[in-house]
């Protein structure tokens, strides 16, 4: 049983290395809106985490893949990064996956439950910048912290960074490929 009221107050700003007010869009795909409505006060928690970190976070939640594509197309020029929970599109959302890659912005795959990573592989997992999964609503908290710290880091995801080891476009890297 979880009780969100028991979660301690955290100084999230202290986790940052910069104070830029990054703009982050949270994309929730089919079936995700319904799952989030079952979490007590999810929207308020997300807003509090954004406020604590000092970043701008907006949610775009839809059961229609086309709406998510249009949200990315319309926002990518002024957005620094995305969180994406593809929900039911995890095996079939090829267009959503392409839209995220085309946006050339860091994007973090989020799942409430890691069952989404087990068994048949997600088509999103190999192409996203980062993954935060399995920690319920706190997967979104972890994903925001990871993305914001990454954007604050001029050797990693910071927009426009030219450091040779930076990846402002958000393409993933792994060993021994």
């Amino acid at each position: 049983m979880t009780d969100t009221r028991q979660v301690r107050a955290m100084d999230l700003r202290a986790l940052r290395q910069d104070d830029t007010r990054w703009r982050i869009i949270v994309l929730n795909g089919p079936n995700v809106g319904q799952a989030l409505r079952r979490i007590d006060g999810f929207d308020e928690q997300l807003a509090a985490w954004a406020d604590g970190l000092g970043v701008q976070v907006e949610q775009r939640t839809s059961n229609h893949e086309g709406r998510l594509l249009e949200a990315i197309h319309a926002t990518s020029d002024e957005t620094h990064g995305y969180l994406v929970n593809p929900g039911g599109l995890r095996m079939v959302g090829e267009s959503l996956r392409h839209a995220l890659r085309d946006a050339k912005r860091p994007h973090v795959l989020v799942h409430l439950d890691s069952d989404a990573l087990r068994g048949l592989p997600s088509i999103f997992a190999p192409s996203v910048t980062s993954i935060v999964s399995g920690l319920g609503a706190y997967s979104y908290l972890g994903a925001l912290v990871a993305l914001v710290r990454g954007l604050d880091d001029a050797t990693f995801l910071a927009p426009g960074s030219t450091d040779p080891i930076s990846r402002p476009h958000g393409a993933p890297r792994s060993l021994y490929g």
Partner: protein
């Protein structure tokens, strides 16, 4: 008249204890490919980042690292007062079944952390099959993210 009356909260509550496990090859941090691992200087620097972040959030971090899998299993078995685990299995991602079993047997939440998004090269960690949480592809920032999320999860499930 004000009197100091002990409450349940301040007599029974203690800081969460989080064990940070770093597995095989992580002692070589600082000399590994910076495109994957970034410019963090050493494993000690990483452990200090997690410890200081934990301290700022009010939890204790017990850092353990080893290049022998048995030492990780020993450390997990020797501490019976851990509330949650963060583990970067390092080279054990593929075959670290003894470590995975030891973590499962604690019954406590575990979050695995990897610097790289290992799916990008077609790898799948055996830890993902059983651990509660997975964080990958965010370099050292993933450890901070996993720690914050794990603390919130522990608070929500068992009280702060």
């Amino acid at each position: 008249m004000m009197e100091a009356v002990p409450t349940m909260a301040n007599t029974t509550a203690r800081r969460h204890r989080i064990m940070l496990l770093n597995g095989l090859n992580m002692t070589n941090l600082g000399r590994r490919d910076p495109h994957i691992y970034g410019r963090i200087g050493s494993l000690a620097e990483l452990e200090e980042l997690v410890r200081a972040t934990g301290d700022g959030l009010g939890v204790d971090v017990i850092a353990v690292h080893a290049n022998d899998e048995g030492a990780l299993v020993d450390a997990i078995e020797e501490h019976d007062d851990i509330d949650g685990y963060l583990i970067n299995p390092g080279g054990l991602w593929a075959y670290g079944l003894p470590t995975r079993i030891a973590l499962s047997e604690t019954g406590r939440p575990t979050c695995e952390v990897h610097f790289a998004n290992i799916y990008a090269t077609g790898h799948e960690s055996i830890f993902t099959e059983t651990v509660r949480g997975t964080v990958m592809g965010a370099r050292e920032h993933g450890y901070v993210a996993a720690l914050v999320a794990l603390i919130a999860l522990l608070d929500a499930e068992q009280g702060g």
